[in-house]
Structures are given as structure tokens and as C-alpha cells.
Symmetry: C2
Amino acid sequence: MEATAQEVDAAVRAAHEVRGALADRAVRSAFLRAAADELEAAKDGLVETADAETALGPVRLTGELARTCYQLRAFAGIVDEGAFLDVVINHPDDTATPPVPDLRRYKVPLGVVAVYSASNFPFAFSVAGGDTASALAAGCPVVVKAHPDHPALSEYVAKMLRRAAARHGIPEGVVGLVHGFDAGVELIKHPLVAAAGFTGSVRGGRALFDAAAARPVPIPFHGELGSLNPVVVTEAAAAERAEAIGSGLAGSMTLGVGQFCVKPGLVLAPAGAAGDALLKSLTDAVSDTDAGVLLDHRMRDNFVAGVAERAQLPDVDSPVTPGAGGEHTVSAGFLTVPASRLTAEGEHDLLLEECFGPVTVVARYEDEAEVKAVLSRLPGNLTATVQLSEEEAAGQGGGAELLRELTPLAGRVLVNGWPTGVAVAPAQHHGGPYPATTSTSTSVGGTAIERWLRPVVYQNTPPALLPAELRDENPLGLPRRFNGRLER
Amino acid sequence: MEATAQEVDAAVRAAHEVRGALADRAVRSAFLRAAADELEAAKDGLVETADAETALGPVRLTGELARTCYQLRAFAGIVDEGAFLDVVINHPDDTATPPVPDLRRYKVPLGVVAVYSASNFPFAFSVAGGDTASALAAGCPVVVKAHPDHPALSEYVAKMLRRAAARHGIPEGVVGLVHGFDAGVELIKHPLVAAAGFTGSVRGGRALFDAAAARPVPIPFHGELGSLNPVVVTEAAAAERAEAIGSGLAGSMTLGVGQFCVKPGLVLAPAGAAGDALLKSLTDAVSDTDAGVLLDHRMRDNFVAGVAERAQLPDVDSPVTPGAGGEHTVSAGFLTVPASRLTAEGEHDLLLEECFGPVTVVARYEDEAEVKAVLSRLPGNLTATVQLSEEEAAGQGGGAELLRELTPLAGRVLVNGWPTGVAVAPAQHHGGPYPATTSTSTSVGGTAIERWLRPVVYQNTPPALLPAELRDENPLGLPRRFNGRLER
């Protein structure tokens, strides 16, 4: 089943050959909507196939499929609106230094996009996920590297996408699919691959990032690699609602058996009575959580070993010991450590690395200086969360300052919420300083389309030769910047 | 004068420390305008210093300084308008899948930007050039690596920028300056450097790009490396105005002694009488061009050697032999070759590499198939130009198809013009497929500011804690996307 180098080459060439079929935006948006329709029509079979391969359960998988279809339709809307083309038109201006000729700029698709599927989102971050949806929306054919945890589902989804393509006259090469580790490496090196999207581990993602950068012609590599997702609970917040914060944290860190990239993995909670109450609530809620099945055995092994390695560090306690549950399952739990152990380099830095699965680390701080010191040592994150008291949220106290400190750490900053659950919305940003992502872009939300485009400007080009998008009379009704003025 | 590793570290730390002084957009735009004022006030001294180091002459240098000041003020306007913040606000929506919380996104500065100066633009692509102007506009302090061809001018310009900063209460660390090759390497590796801009050679740029990608935390590297800037002259265009095209080409390829990154370096001209007439005109005009001084001796040596190596290839003629002029000067010229020599891999591929200086290669084609074959083998370019007949420009004939073929090759496509002269305008795009640039961004024009920003979204954040840019009531009057609707 693993693709040979020749098969990878054939898939990429097929995708490259059909790129012209995506040139018309109306065809693209119709294709994306048809893809959502096809996936919905095949819902029962898709969810059954996905559950057999991932054990994520029909409820979660049905929801994830709905999200995936919503996302495809959202990108269809974005294609129709056309704001992403970023049209800018300047008429000639002889008063400028140097003089400005007639310039008309918009964005064109980069070419074939390589998409690397994630284990933990068989629908939303895999064959028909956000990378594919945004690349097709941009006008780029894709070749997807299937995740080995769900090969049959990958084939099934690809078939539905190709069926949708056929309905609109687009050849099936528009969605290629390859299996196998070596195929993934071949793919990133292929001269006709113009960009890549990836969701996965730091190790795998960095290796592919390095390969993309080392090509004779380097290409953009948009990878989402890993994130600790710190949470800061202020003294006042803990005093006000220790129980709610403890149970909320338990819900977020155990959701999906802790297999979300935005799982809160480090919580800064106050020492003292309020923090103790928070821990009591967390203990109760986590103890009540059923053991769960991780996506594959390698992940289970890594989780069990990762927890054990962390738990044996000096001053680390495990009020609820996470680890092996049954033969295939793992049980949720959490570790505690004095925050002072994390304020300077040392063996406890292991606690600042992501541990995939249902575990979090609660670092108990004595004062704000310790919070600041720990925050200053964190790597980049997808999210950073702060739990504030009612008064702090209203602007009294250090809430604003805390937000200012968290902003450099992450791409999404939350107040009094939990990071799990990434909404698909125009304003969404799912990305952050490395290793959260390898670029400044997002893999969720409307602006994800920007990753697969590059600008081109036409200078002094006669109207008869201009693309319709760039004509003065704006026949397509596009939002644009016209002689400096924003037109919507 | 070369900076030690310690001095580089001190400059980067100083820049990092003062980043808060750029937080206020009003301060930033005032600073940029003050910088333009200071440079203009020092015009005579600056031009004299620049001419002594580069021999580019007072006319060209005065114009370049004016362009640089225009650019600083243009970015001030962009900062004031605030569209670059890309504000997107979504109110909660429970009907979405999954439900959308309150999300408010805008862009924040990345941090300290390393700027690598160019030899050939001592003002416009150096200490106060486009990279610096756009980085400061984005809110990023800079540390500039001076070009060894104009160290005294670099110090002078940095002094003017710091004086402008002081006028608005910004510490002088906001513009750092370091000299020396090793300092440049230290700079790209410094943990507090968040991004880099570069204009220069493929070799130097690629080495720095590789170093940026190999860091423990990789950073964006926006480099402009090299470009052949192909020109296609159609049979009909040559028949219609051979003389004008020949003399126009001569003017463009010899402008600034051929030291522009957008110099036309490969011209596809028809075989036969019309093409002969074009060559005659080119020969006359180039022969009339005075010998000129290149920026430094290394460039002169490379030019003389590069021309000689190309001229000895089979079937290559040099109707006007370019090469050594006087002791310090070089003379302009051009080479010709049958286009059939360039349609398949071979020793003639050397002609598809940029040769810095006043030389171009005219490839004579027999038919359109040869044109297509040569275009399909070109590396990425900053520009691609087509010379069309009146009828073709009006939409009759193959003009539109030619534009479609040129678009994948370049970031700027010109009709019936010449690529030299890069206007500073909102619609400008100065970039292109590798090796033209190492990213999809531009180094000239308003969107150059996007290179130094990253998005952050705030989720369910109480109004009292939100930055003013993200409040519903829009106190700063920013263009934005509000619940899906574009507001301008």
C-alpha cells in the first residue's frame, strides 16, 4: 500500500496537470460545496470507518465530520467573496518619487500543495481538512500524505472529494493521496510541489520543515508541531471559583483522551488555600474520568513513559497518577510541582515539553514574580489562557498586564475559558511562535487561505489583456484598494 | 570596525529592550516622518558621502534619497490608516459547528528585525531603506548589517534615524548597526532576532536563509536574491517598432551600469529581418553608452569573467563586446544565441543565470514553440516583460496567452515597458518565485509591512482588557472585518 517514488511523482504530476481546472473561482466554490455534500451523504459509512481505525467514537467523529463540512462551505463563501485576492490598483501618478506607472496587483495560487494528515483529527485535519479545503479554495491541487492511523478512511474521503470534483468537470488528479513514511519524504522534495501543510509532532514536522528549506528551490512549509498551552490562574480567581476552575481544567485536559494540540499542559496555580481547593476539585473530577483509548500503541507507550519520566523528578507529586489503564487504555491524571523548580534551566525543563495524552502539570507559585519567571521561559504556543476574578476581568488589578505578558507566547489568548475547541471563523487564528507553528500563518479560519497564494502585479497592461479581477470597472464586484481608497 | 559577537549581542539586546517604545502607532508614524525630514535636511552631506563610497553619482543618489524619504512617509501613512493590522472581529455564534466564541484578531510585531543592506542601493535598500522602514512601521526595532561598500554612509544614515527617534522619545537602540561578514552571521543566529530582510546575491542570501532555517527556533527570512528578468518580443512587435524596442532595451540594461536587480538579462527576440532591425538599434544604442564604474572591484572582476565565460560558448556572438573598459570602468554590451540552444539542459544554461552589470543576452527564436520551451526552463524572476504590437495589445493575437505564460515566472509582469524602475506604491510587488525572493512577500510597496507581523486572536476577552483596536465601538476608526462584513 505504501507509495513508491514513482507513484508519488505520478500523483504530483497529475495534480500539477489539472491546476487549470481550478482557475475559475465559481468552479472552485461549487466543488467545495459539492465535497461537503458528498461527505455528508456518506456520513454513516465514513464515521464507521473512522471509528474502526481511531476508536474516537461516533459522537466525536460525527461532530468532527460536521465541522469539516462546515469548513469546506466556509471556504466556498470566501472564494465567492474574493477578498482573499487582495486586489490593489494604482493608476499612474507622475507626482510620486519615482513616478508610479499603472499597477494592478492580486494573488495567484502557488501550485501543488502537499498536505500531511494528522493522527488525532481523521476528518478536520486530514484528507478533507483545513489544509486541503484552504488549498483548493486558493486554486491549488493537493497531494495528501495519509496518516498511518487511518488509511482506509483516507481513501474513502479522497474518493468522495474526487466524486465532487467530477461533478464539476475537475479531473480526479486534483486530490492525490499517498501512503507511507518514505512517500511523505519524497513528496516534500518533489520539484513540482510548491508548498506544504502539516499537523503533527515536533520531530516529524521539523524533519519535513528542514527538507523543505534544504530543497534547491525552498518552499513554504506551514507546520503545526506542538504546544504546551499554558494557563495562569490568579490568586483572586482561585479564591473566587476554585471548584469551577478545577473541574473546567479536568474537562479540558481529558477531552478526547487529552489528544488535542490545544490541551492545557501547564497550569500556574497559586500556592495556599485557594490553590489547594482548586487541586481538590481537579482531583475529584479527574478521578471520575473514565480510562480512554489512545490513537495508537506508539502514543500509548510514549504517554506512559513520558508521565513516568516526569513523575520521578524531585518535588513532583502526582495526586492522581496518570498512566496505563487497561491493556489498551490509559487513565487521566496530573502532576504538581513548585513553580520555583521551573524558573531556571534544569532537569525540570522536561515539564515544559508537551506530553500528548490526558495529563497536565500544575505548577504552584508563591508570587507574581514566579509567574513571570516561568512565563519568560516558555517556548511558543498555540494558546495561552488566564483565569481572572470578576474584578480583574472588569479591569481592576493586573488582568491587562497579564494579557500583555501572555500575548508574545501564543497565537490565541483566552480569558476565563479553556483552549480545547477551535472554532472555524474568519477571526480565528490557530498558530503561534515556534514550535506551535513553523510560520506566522494559521491552519484554521478564513485567513488559512493566504498560505497558498502569492502576489503578482501587472504593469501598464492594456485592459483587453487584464484578468477581469483587475479591471477598473470591477466586473466581479471584488473588495479592493483602488487608488489608495478601500472599496468594499 | 567589524563588530564582535559581543557587540552584535549588545545591539540586538538594546533593540529588543526598546521595542515597547514603538508600541504606539502615532509615535511610530511621527518617527518615520521625522526620519524623512532628518535625511532631507542632511541631503548634501549624505549624497556626498554616498558618492564617495559608491561612485553612483549625485543625480542618481539624490533621486534615490528622495525615493527613500517618500517611502518612509508612505509607511507613516500606512501606520496611521491601520489596515495592516487586519482586524477581524466575530461575535459569538452558537449556530456554527463547533460554536464560535467571541474572537478578535489583529496583528502584532514579531520583534527585532535583522536588515541586510544592499550594495547597489545605498539609500533605498540599506540602513533607511524599505526593510527598515516597513519593520519600524510594523513596530519592530531593527539591527542593520551595513554593506561593506558604504560603511561611512551607513553610520551617517543610522545617526539621522536615531536623531529622529530621539525627537519622539524613542531610545537610540531602535536602530542598531553592525559591520562585518561575521557580524552578519552572528546576527541571523541571535535568539532575540525574530525575522530578517535581505537584498543581495544568491550565494550570500541562500547562506543566510539556510542559517535562519537551521536555528533551534527558525525565523522568517525575506531575501531578494537574483533575477534574470526575461523579455519576450513578439514577431509583430519587432516588425512594428524594432528601433524603439532596441533603444529602450539598451537604456534599461545599461541604466545604473546594469547594477539593478530588475535589469533585463534575457531577451527572446525573433530571428529574421524584424529581429535583425531590433539588434541593429540595440547595437547602435549600446555602442553609444559610456563606460561606467561598478560598485566595487569584486563586482568588476565577476562581470568581466562572467561575460568572457558566456561569450566563449558555441554559437554565442557578441555584436557589442561587453567587458573591461578602463582601469576601473566596464563597457556595456550584449550577446546573442539561437534560442534553440536554450530549450534543453546543457552548457548554455549559464546564459540563464544572472550576470550583474551592463550585459544582456538576446536569444533569437524561430517560432512560438521555442519561446515556450525557453520560458518553461527559466528560474523564478522579479519581473517578466512582453513587447507586443498594437494589435496584440488590443487583445487580438496571442497577447493574453503570453501573459498567462509569463505570470508563473515572476512577481511583476510588464507590457510594452522596461523593468528597471520600481515604483513605491500600494499595488507594487517586488518579489517572485525563488531565487527572486525566498518568500512570497515583497520588499517594495505597502504590503512589505506584512513581513514583520503575526496574528493574535483574543477569545472571550472582557472589553476592559481588550486593546483599543479590537473594541466593538472601533475608537480608532480602523478598517476591519466585523461579523463577516468588511468595514472601511
